[in-house]
Amino acid sequence: MILNWAPEAIVDIIVSVIILIAVILTYFEPKTKKIKSLFYIRLGIFSLGLFFGFDALAILFLSTILARLIAFTIIFAAVFLTIGLNYVLKESYQSIILTIVISYGVLISFLAWVPDSIIIEYEAGYLNVNWDGIFLIIADLYLVLPLLVIFYWGIKTWLNSPFLIKKEANILLIGVFFGCPITLLTYFFYYINPIFILISDVIGAIGVLIFCIAIIREPKLLYILPFTLYRIVVKDRKGYPLFDHDWSESNISEEMFTGFINAVQLMSEEVMNIGGLLDINLQKGILILHDSELITVGLVSSKFSQLLKDSIINFTLDFEQMFKKQLIESCNEPEKYETAYLLIDKHFSNFPFRLISTKKHPLLLSGDHIEIPLELESRLKSIVMDKKELNLIKSEILKAPYGLSEEFLSLYDELKDEIALTSKKEANKLENKIKNKD
């Protein structure tokens, strides 16, 4: 049997292999294995790979049956990509776009079997199996829809990505840019010159590969849009804070946060049973509380999320297991629980950290970690006994203009004789003078 080695068949095989390699890479990367949205996106991309594979086979064997079957691979690709993006955007598969994609898919699967929808023709000197007529137009438009949704998601993800994963977000944007608008644009030229379909296929495959590399490098990209994770706090049953971790600045006040946790700890036995979960809508976010036998874990996020609920339950179980000895001994020193950072890595590793907004984010060292010259430090200690006040001054010295500490010490020396005057009696005397004046 003689195979029809048309250039498009060769390009289709190459593109199909590239796409399948990209899919396999995302499957074997451990961090991305359990991500539900990626599971569907992967299926969508795999269907795209099949699309090119079937197209290659259809051309090689000049088979109109295989060419008609391609329609189903497009439908699968569009449906799975839409479900995947729905999970990324709102943790649910359902959306109006999915309904449109499925309805449109029914039409395509019908049109694919209409006579004359597939033709075998000479194209640039080679025999090719091509879509034709209304099927060609409807199927091409069908491909545009999920690509536009992916492009929209890519741009939004890039715009909202925090500084720490901006580099990966840039890679994702390049992938999405190649895979969507550039592919569509070059494909449009196919109507003018059939050679452009080859360029379009290659660009699309490169886009998919770059997209997959970005996701493998940083799965957090898939969690930028659904919600913002603010904070997690672990308290023991007596209310002592054991561990806390911040992902981003929250508008929810500290008092409200700890107040709710304390209140829930008090009422937990009556209302939510040990092991129960409680969601509290705080308008500015959602507080998810999980009460276990030994600890209460509170997590604040911008939206309700089943994924977060599952994560908090697993985190709680692991925390209890990891620190069982300390918890049973009622140890409430936060230093003993510092390694819980590992559990954050384990259960929340895919959620982006947003405390750093830009690379120009100004930073300072907190008072406890500031080192100033020993001589200055000892003088400061002799002047300011209170540790909190001392730390404040130390932290301000680092923010203050050069030489201010020396000026402060000389002002202190200048005023030191007058400090004696600050007895209550003397101050009252001076104050009375002011009152009398009024």
Binding site: M385, E389, P401, L411
Partner: protein, 239 residues
Amino acid sequence: MKNGIKFPAIGLEHPMVKRVLEIAKEILSKNKVLDIESLYNLAKRRLKIPRKGLLSIIQLLINKKILVEGSKFVRDNVLSNFYRKNIYNYIKKNGAVHFSLIKKNVISDTKGNYGSSGQLIWHLEMLLKFKFIKKIKIGNYTVFMPVNFESDMGIIIFIMQDDINKKILLLLKDQGLIKKSDVYKEINEKRENVYYRINNLIENDVIHTKEKENLIFINPKKIDIISIILHNKNYIENN
């Protein structure tokens, strides 16, 4: 690890974390701006660790609140400190005040426990440095006043916080010229108290003497200021 965690622990005791912290301290000690970029670039050059690892360390330091958000002081953010702002407002409201009054009225809690003098002097130094206030010496007192107040004005405001001084100046304003030895009788106060204050007023150039006749009178250049302050209680607040 029991929980099947595959990543190595990055804690504050990790040598790389300590080295990044050292680099942050070094940047600040050179009086340079510390931001993610400067810390990242210097640490990357020195430690030669991968980008992701270095960013994780910076992230850890921020999460543990060892590196905190904040920038060097400029005039606009000096008053962001609650106490400092209150001190400044108190000085503005009262025109010219001594350190002890600020301590009593601003740096004290509801039970009357004072904050330390050191803390107050630090805030005053910051206000002086960024030209929110200035200080003048009046007798034994160091007095703080808003920077836009003329020193003469500050002296008079501070002096007139004393009742006897105020009576002396009112008398001089009404009579123009008066014998020094007659003042205590006119205002009905103890002679030594009045003499002590008259000498202070002379020292501060608020009143002048005609020595031969032992006469005193208000410095003509300051009579307008004194009149304004004597007759307009809201003068300080309005200015």
